[in-house]
């Protein structure tokens, strides 16, 4: 076994050992033990991913573990990248979780499940056969479902969220199962090698791709299969939210890449236009919902949908360009998408952990009730600011680099990609731009309203800084954000090599990498350079220089603290502050026709006169329009069907047994007739 294998097995072993250990140890030591083991496992996993990505692959075959099929593992570069990301996210979440567990999350299940969840997410990208993938996938679904349910005794919403999640994830699983099982049946074998070698008829390829796309896209929270995401991610404990939103959704992208590009070797242009379209829709819809959300964790959940949408735009563009034979640009788009996966994982981990700290300190995640945390939680505020900068894709944040690469790939694609590309690419650029703009608005709102200004409720007033372990977890994530932002070259060579090798038709050995350069990134074959470090340095020099100039030439008078300008009336109560809802109101009005917000106004007049008002009550909510149009009718129909079927069940045991008897007989008769 080589280094990669040793590390990977160590990671899995640590996870699997941590679970029973957490069950057996006493409550006080439990979080520390589980956390330490998961951290070590995450480190080992990340290291295994990195070594595998840098060329040292590893594969294994364990026949005895699963009956009939056996377990097959293979850490090729594609899987390795996702293993590395999962490991890194797990480290941050596990360090954070040591302290976060202190309020009510140190139960046996809550502590034993996260290592298993991490193990399943390490296994999914490493799986090299259909059955291994499906088992790992199902393990991932079950463990995450358990974790979503961790706080179900405290909040009623958890149950509903878990129900949505359970249904959607299993429908997704069914789709993947159908797709991959069909694929394996047609290919005559279930290992990925056999699938790769199989030549399927076009219709079957389409069916396999569409079925798996639906399943994987639902895991990535792609519109219109996103309804569970914004429910389940916020309701889980925060470090689990981070794991789900930063690592688990990536598995959807992994699946699409694995099946679409690797196993099926790319496909017709319409597949990828479909992926691109779904990505564009998700990006816009997700960020629009986030822009008007006032629940901090829900906002982050919607933002996950947006970022997965952006990734899929890149993936779709890559597939589309590859189908047109432009493998260099395709590799560029794919490298941009992969870099965005990494970036998103880094900043979303950070943001969810910071949101957890806020929840922990104030007892609420409603932005309308927060504020003033800058003075009370200075570290968390600064770390959240780093994440928000990255998420709004502004320099010097890491999100900017990947969006820049994505835009470059789309722009250079225009002259070569025919009429379909000429219509698609500008619209995709428009979508990315609008979602970037709305992301700025969203995160200005999240940071400005949630952390700045003055506290809006007593809960926010009483907030205090989180314990060191939680800050440590966040700081790790923030450090990776900063590294990715200033020196993307730390990961980009590996990702671009992976992208170049993954693009169908690139041949062996794969073509040159699409992006190169240490400090200044350069596109290969196209003109385009960006230097994130230079931007940051120039900005820092300008700001420091200005500060010096101001000190030198201005302000001979000392800075004075004074009351806020309250128009002389004062004092300004927190109720006069702008809230998240009021902040988003102009955007909500602009996108009125898309969002269809609901509001109702109850005016209770006094008894004496109809013209004197005793109380006014205003309620506004912004329902998920897609859910309303798409899911509600289906649910209503299912409910109606259920009610109609109640006549069949009258409580008599005889009757139920009789149904069984009838069914058995009917099957036998049918068999007799057919044979």
């Amino acid at each position: 076994m080589n280094l990669t294998g040793t590390l990977f097995v160590a990671a899995l072993g640590l996870c699997l050992a941590a679970a029973p250990a957490a069950v057996l140890t006493p409550r006080r030591a439990r979080p520390l033990l589980a956390g330490a083991a998961t951290t070590a496992a995450g480190l080992a996993g990340a290291a295994a991913g990195v070594t595998a990505l840098s060329g040292q692959g590893w594969s294994a075959r364990l026949d005895g573990v699963l009956p009939l099929a056996g377990v097959r593992l293979d850490l090729d570069p594609l899987g390795a990248m996702f293993v590395a990301v999962t490991g890194a996210v797990a480290v941050c979440a596990a360090v954070y979780g040591v302290a976060y567990a202190r309020h009510g999350l140190d139960g046996r299940v809550a502590q034993a499940t996260p290592p298993l969840f991490v193990a399943s997410m390490l296994l999914v990208p490493a799986a090299a056969s259909v059955s291994t993938l499906l088992v790992a996938w199902e393990l991932m679904a079950l463990t995450s479902l358990l974790l979503v349910l961790a706080e179900h005794r405290r909040r009623a919403a958890v149950g509903e969220a878990a129900l949505w999640y359970a249904v959607m994830t299993h429908l997704g699983f069914a789709a993947i199962l159908a797709g991959l099982a069909g694929f394996a049946a047609l290919a005559g074998g279930e290992t990925f090698e056999q699938l790769r070698a199989a030549g399927l008829p076009p219709g079957a390829r389409d069916a396999v791709f569409l079925a798996t796309l639906a399943g994987f896209a639902s895991k990535a929270g792609i519109v219109p299969l996103h309804v569970w995401l914004a429910r389940a991610h916020p309701e889980a404990p925060s470090q689990v939210s981070a794991l789900m939103s930063a690592a688990m959704v990536n598995m959807g992208v992994y699946g699409i890449l694995r099946v679409g590009l690797d196993l099926l070797h790319g496909g017709p242009a319409w597949w990828w236009l479909l992926v691109l379209g779904a990505g564009a829709l998700s990006a816009l819809f997700g960020i629009l919902q986030a822009a008007v959300a006032s629940d901090l964790k829900r906002l982050l959940g919607h933002s996950t949908t947006e970022n997965m949408g952006l990734v899929l735009i890149g993936v779709g563009a890559a597939g589309f360009l590859a189908s047109g034979g432009d493998s260099m640009l395709a590799a560029l788009a794919l490298a941009a998408a992969l870099l965005h996966v990494v970036n998103h994982s880094a900043f979303k981990t950070l943001l969810f952990l910071a949101a957890g700290s806020v929840l922990h300190a104030t007892g609420t995640r409603d932005l309308d009730a927060l504020g003033g945390l800058r003075a009370r939680m200075p570290c968390t505020t600064a770390l959240f600011a780093v994440g928000a900068l990255a998420a709004s894709a502004l320099p010097p944040g890491n999100g900017f680099v990947s969006e820049w690469l994505l835009l470059q790939s789309l722009i250079h694609a225009l002259p070569t990609s025919g009429v379909a590309g000429a219509v698609t690419m500008p619209l995709a650029v428009g979508v990315i731009a609008l979602s970037a703009g709305l992301a700025i608005a969203t995160f200005v709102k999240a940071f400005g309203v949630g952390f700045l200004a003055r506290p809006r409720t007593p809960g926010a007033e009483r907030a205090s800084e989180s314990p060191p372990a939680m800050i440590g977890g966040m700081a790790l994530a923030a450090a990776s954000c900063v590294i990715l932002a200033l020196a993307p070259a730390t990961v980009l060579p590996g990702l671009s090599r992976l992208a170049a090798s993954l693009v169908p038709g690139s041949g062996h050995p794969p073509g040159p990498v699409p992006v190169s350069g240490e400090v200044t990134l350069r596109l290969t074959g196209y003109e385009g350079t960006i230097s994130p470090l230079l931007i940051a340095v120039a900005l820092a020099i300008a700001v420091i220089g200005l500060l010096g100039a101001v000190r030198l030439f201005a302000s001979r008078r000392a800075r004075r603290a004074a009351r806020l300008w309250d128009c002389g009336a004062g004092p300004m109560s927190p109720r006069m502050e702008y809230t998240a809802t009021s902040f988003a109101e102009p955007l909500q009005r602009v996108f009125d026709d898309v969002l269809e917000p609901e509001s109702d106004l109850d005016v209770t007049p006094t008894k004496e006169s109809a013209y004197l008002v005793e109380s006014v009550r205003f309620r506004a909510r912004i329902p998920d329009r897609i859910e309303r149009r798409l899911y509600d009718p289906v649910l209503a129909a299912a409910g109606a069907l259920g009610r109609a079927a109640t006549g069949l069940a009258n409580g008599s045991v005889h009757r139920y047994l009789a149904y069984g008897f009838y069914a058995l007989t009917a099957v036998l008769v049918a068999l007799a007739v057919i044979w």
């Binding site: 800058r374 502004l394 722009i411 700025i440 200005v444 400005g448 700045l452 385009g528 900005l539 102009p586």
Partner: protein, 314 residues
């Protein structure tokens, strides 16, 4: 070497000249209104006075409030250094990308919006909310116009785009260029908070966008913000001039004389654009806040048409 000198001269020119541009625009406006006007140098007098005044930190504000003016001015200075105004030879090639430039300008707006939110006053929040709303809607137009301009050149590097326009002057009156120019002009107006999107000289808080965010700033902080806004306007006007009227810009291989010529050309072009903008403002009323999206949707459409034209008419 010429590139470095050019970049330094750009920054100096923008830093010194932009308050004069603001003064010129106010003067034009005053003359059209039948006034005498305060003179072109008045903004500099204002800045000098503000710099001498006492800075005030309102209760309840923190480092975000203090940092915002610096970041705002810092981003504009960086942009002024890399945008091809006087010369296309930027020493910072890795920053002179249209996406990077627009993102940097957006970063400045975000800093100011956060500064406004940090005060916790209703007006600060209101201004910030409106600012980011307008910014979010402006973004697609900017990026699509960039797209349209970059197709011909095959690069989003500003130096490359302007160089190609210098070598091929007839490109400037192509439909692509004209449509993108109109779209970018609308965007410039929205980004710099001029009429009809925002009224820079309003006293009514309810109609404010930019002003509402800076109501709490005083002294040198305010001076920085005012200076940065003026620089932003001149940089964007200069960029517009460079993209669509790139005459006189020093290109590769040019000597010092070309840099001087470029500076003179820049002053003339930006002054002309400023006069045009100020004169146009006299004829227009500010749009209602909720009609601004229509204006921006219109500019988005023009930008999209520019991209389409760049491909289909090629």
């Amino acid at each position: 070497m010429t590139g470095l000198i050019g970049a330094v001269s750009q920054v100096v020119l923008v830093a010194v000249g932009s308050p004069l541009l603001a003064g010129l625009m106010r003067q034009v406006r005053a003359r059209l209104e039948g006034r005498a006007g305060a003179g072109v140098a008045q903004p500099w007098r204002d800045l000098r006075k503000l710099a001498r005044k006492e800075p005030i930190t309102p209760h309840g504000t923190g480092w975000v409030f203090r940092l915002a003016p610096l970041v705002l001015a810092g981003t504009v200075l960086v942009v002024a250094a890399v945008v091809p105004l006087v010369t296309t030879l930027s020493p910072m090639d890795g920053v002179a990308d249209l996406f990077a430039v627009t993102a940097l300008l957006a970063l400045g707006s975000v800093a100011l919006a956060l500064g406004g939110l940090d005060t916790g006053t209703a007006f600060g929040g209101m201004g910030a909310s409106r600012e980011v709303t307008v910014m979010a809607l402006v973004e697609p137009t900017i990026l699509l116009s960039v797209f349209a301009l970059s197709v011909r050149v095959g690069s989003t590097n500003l130096g490359a785009i302007v160089t190609s326009a210098v070598h091929d002057p007839l490109e400037v009156i192509s439909p692509v260029s004209l449509l993108a120019a109109v779209a970018l002009a609308v965007v410039t107006i929205a980004e710099t908070g001029r009429i009809p999107v925002d009224n820079p000289s309003t006293h009514l808080e309810l109609t404010m966008i930019h002003e509402a965010m800076i109501l709490e700033y005083s002294g040198p902080d305010l001076a920085l913000i005012e200076w940065a806004s003026a620089m932003r306007l001149s940089v964007l006007l200069g960029l517009l001039a460079s993209l669509f009227a790139p005459w006189g810009i020093a290109t590769a291989g040019a000597g010092l004389a070309a840099v001087v010529l470029g500076m003179a050309a820049l002053v003339i072009k930006v002054a002309a654009l400023g006069v045009l903008l100020a004169a146009g403002e006299v004829f227009m009323a500010k749009l209602r806040l909720f009609r601004i999206p229509e204006l921006l949707a219109g500019s988005f459409m023009l930008a999209l048409l520019a991209v389409a034209a760049s491909f289909f008419l090629a």
